[in-house]
Symmetry: C2
Subunit: 98 residues, 2 copies
Amino acid sequence: MSRKLSPDERAAQLRELNGWKSVANRDAIERSIEFADFNEAFGFMTRVAIKAQEMDHHPEWFNVYNKVHITLSTHEINGVSELDFQFARFVDSIMKNG
Amino acid sequence: MSRKLSPDERAAQLRELNGWKSVANRDAIERSIEFADFNEAFGFMTRVAIKAQEMDHHPEWFNVYNKVHITLSTHEINGVSELDFQFARFVDSIMKNG
């Protein structure tokens, strides 16, 4: 079972990532990403969806045209675990290669 | 250019659809759909994404695991047009076949 990260652990992990922050009124992290167009945005979502299924860890996300907003938390512990940061690092890695 | 539907036209079209309603504080229509799991939800989203690109008319949508929430409006007229109902009918048609 996943373990909820301490505030210090979370802060340390957030500092290593691009554009992720804690959600204001919830125990979760979030990132907004803007793409050139819908094709790029949904292509990105498809890569993330396949990874999510592989990890059995799924995002909450919103898309409109070229914008994607992702929220991550670990439901079974109702908070942020190492799994969310693994997921966030995957998202960042395909942003760089995309 | 798309034309904003009259309240009567919109109401008549909504009556013919499954599960769509007007959004409370906005000139748009919405539907929530629940699938068996993430695989089915994202498979549905992929079919809708391809259609959206073909129609050059894109949804606002939110997904978490097996749930998808879709909001439709026509940005250039800041309201609901025939295009949104074409889109909604496509969504409903793949729900029936899915």
